[in-house]
Amino acid sequence: MKRIKTVIVEDSRLARNELKELIKNHPEIEMVGEAENVDDGVVLIEEVKPDLLLLDINMPEKDGFELLEMLDVVPITVFTTAYDEYAIKSFEYNALDYLLKPINEKRFALAVEKVKDNLGKSNNEAVPSKERLTGSSQIFIKDGEKCWLVKICEISHLEIVGNYTRVFFQDERPMLYKSLNQIEEKLPENYFFRANRQQIINTNFIQDLVPWFNGKLKLTMHNGEEVEVSRRQSYLFKDRMSL
């Protein structure tokens, strides 16, 4: 099996050593780099594109959540933190994976197993091109107190709200603080389609499709939401779907 490329971002040198010591028992993990603060971490992650990120929360100047917000693509992430009521509440609330320091070796092994499962699922994916995300790429969205690590293929559609974008997936609809055009450039073309000026849809989430007046199309999404495809885009859409 392919080794898991792993990056540690953690401000304490001894804590990094401690993590590396734990990793020694797992030959499938390949350490590809470490950083002691968020800015260095972002540069490192964008350069080496790791599969797994072991991330501390409390770091000088910027914290772990801010690191994720700075990334376009987020690797599978396991938070490591010493007991911190606030952070733990946030992990639990947002269903994020975390390990409490000092880290129990069994728990660490379990976390590694889970990472392997996740990576196994996405292994048959097409290799991501340099500019675009793939369906299994994760993005990090933080909207107020809540945050999510969302797989691209789980997003049903996206919508312009002012200068930002609302992201629809499962029952959630948080705001992402980027423009729709900015996001469109990164989305994989095989899943996503620009239905009109306001919306981008995931074609896998289309439930129903009916011709509308003026050569337009009307789509009904899995969640019941209706999306009108503009005339120009309708031609493209029919072409693409070979209708």
Partner: protein
Amino acid sequence: MQITSRNRNRLFWLLQIAGWGMVNSTIFIVPYDFSTTYIIYSFFGASIAGILATSLYRTVLLKKIDSIWEKKNIIKAIGGFFMTAVLYYLLAYCSEIFYDSIWGKTPAEIKFDEEEVTWAVSIFSIAFTILAWMAIYFTIKFLLKSNQNRLESLELNATLREAQLYTLKGQVNPHFMFNSLNNIRGLMLEDVDKSREMITKLSEMLQYALVKNTVDAIPLKEELEMVENYIALSKIQMEDRLHYVEEIAPDTLQTPIPPMIIQLLVENAAKHGIANLKDGGTISVKIKKEDQNLFITVTNTGKLQIAKDSTQLGLKNIRQRLRLLYGEKATFSLEEKEGAVIANIKIPLS
């Protein structure tokens, strides 16, 4: 419940009116043949004279006296007593003359004045009345005062307990403790002796937090040991990012200080100051004696910013404890100056 000065004033006036009214109501039962007008007039006249004289006494003098056991205060109270007695006598005397000039006294009333109210009787009864008044006044005053003291010491205890809880829950805060344990675990891979030393320091901190902060005061030296332990443990987390400087005047080491105050300031300096700086900074603790005051200064590199999730419990606790222990004589300030956050505490030594 705290007795406010408004309630205290109300109580005073209520007792004044009721007391003087009661004393002077004897006029209604004396077996003399007085006219009704005279009876009612002297009841009110004497009561008002008494209330005026003693209230003036209280306002001018007694309110300012906290303890009667000081010689200076005893002299003041006795002097005030004579003046009040004279004032009371004059007011009562004037009121009699005033009555006589308006309504005219009956022969029985004049006879009573001349035969029964001799100088000796007047002096004795006035002195007795004012003395009795003083006795009642001081008794009530000190009962209220002792109640107040009891409340204050209760409040102090509660605050101290809060600090103690805070120390266990928030201060040798779990995050710091587990981080330290994790760092020590990492340190064991490279330096066993130092790891052992760090475990000892961590235990000492826990011990100190558990045992020492139930007391009101500890020698400065002990508090500084705790601070040094904290710094040593923070240094294995932050390493070169944390510098620590101490400037302690040797004659301050045995000075008793309230526990956990310098410790809280240093923790704040580390947690909100140095830990947020990528390149780190310096924490310095300076302590000196000057003009019967102890000056404690804790400085750290960084900006004064109150974190949005911070409850400022630590700072509140310091302020409250200083106020309860030293009143207005202790001061605490926190300011930012030239890229450093400076906490200043002044504690009176006497």
